[in-house]
Symmetry: C2
DNA sequence: GAAAGATTGTTGTTGACGACAACAATTGTC
DNA sequence: GACAATTGTTGTCGTCAACAACAATCTTTC
């Protein structure tokens, strides 16, 4: 460990700013990224990385990633939706949903049924094994949520969901 | 703003759908994702996407992305850090930091100085124009933070930062 | 002091993901 | 029926995380 970078390891930073102000005024002579404290985007990004890694790890045995889980969940709750409807609802592009559904259909979890009313679109449904699989995924996802609670606290998680309810 | 919907409680849903199918089967806007409500990861992901897009848009004129800003900020606050120290501090891989620094160095914002003590490593510093540029970036970043406040509320943002303080 | 092991920066690959553009088939509009 | 819009699909481009391998350079160990 070189002398110039010696302080990069310690992470004391007990300095909690209870005040709401961003206060980017600090000289930050102490440690690392004091200048980044107060940036919501940075904290949210780090948290999102952590939460996704825990999700991927918790659902690792069944090999389901967060986006796949969201697609399955929406289809399970709304059978018969078109790809366009699912994509718009989840905020993903329909071009990307094509590959996601290709993978899920290859695993026999989802099936595309050509719509009779609109022959351009496909009605999306879960297969029978897809339904039972989703039930298992939901149990694992609930376990993941408990990990989140253990990480940031039960009521903090609840408050977080309340704050971000407008983005779901 | 495709997903700026309110709660899933009662949504009259203007039901515009000018060019939608005749069948009442695929009404995109009325899709409920009840099962996704209550998943912290989903809300955080959507929020993170929004916040990054606003950051990129607000700092669009200076062409600085969130990761670049975090690198500049850390180097500005801790001149002389090695690439390994910066990467570890920001939670990015050193392989990725190489390209980030290539870009920033090409723009004359950062310079790599071969360390005399450890000839493997580089001491990272801001250039003179890099310092003045960072000052401008910080003003724009503060404007972005005000956008976040306008989006979720001032005290909600403060509470969020408090909840996620452990991830910075 | 030399060999063995670890670290730093670099290059490369892989895969997930968002953003766009173009296209055929189909539908709605005029 | 001509024209515009939508749906699913294919493709490209760029960002980003995760690895793997490598040369140069410490650090450790004998």
């Amino acid at each position: 460990m070189t002398a110039s970078a010696a302080r990069a390891d310690a992470r004391p930073s007990p300095r909690k700013r209870a005040g709401n102000g961003p206060a980017p005024r600090d000289i930050a002579d102490d440690v690392g990224l004091d200048a980044l404290v107060g940036h919501a985007g940075y904290a949210v990004r780090r948290f999102q990385i952590w939460i996704f890694q825990d999700f991927i790890r918790t659902l690792g045995d069944v090999d389901i990633r967060p986006t796949q889980y969201s697609v399955l969940t929406v289809i399970g709750a709304n059978p018969g939706l078109s790809q366009m409807a699912v994509a718009k609802r989840l905020g993903i592009e329909r071009a990307r949903l094509v590959h996601l559904l290709d993978s899920l259909e290859q695993r026999k979890l989802v099936k595309r049924i050509k719509s009779k009313a609109d022959r351009r679109s496909h009605a999306l449904h879960l297969t029978a094994p897809g339904e039972t699989a989703l039930a298992k995924f939901k149990r694992l996802a609930a376990e993941h949520e408990r990990n989140v609670e253990a990480k940031i606290g039960k009521e903090n998680r609840a408050h977080l969901l309340r704050i971000l309810a407008g983005f779901t």
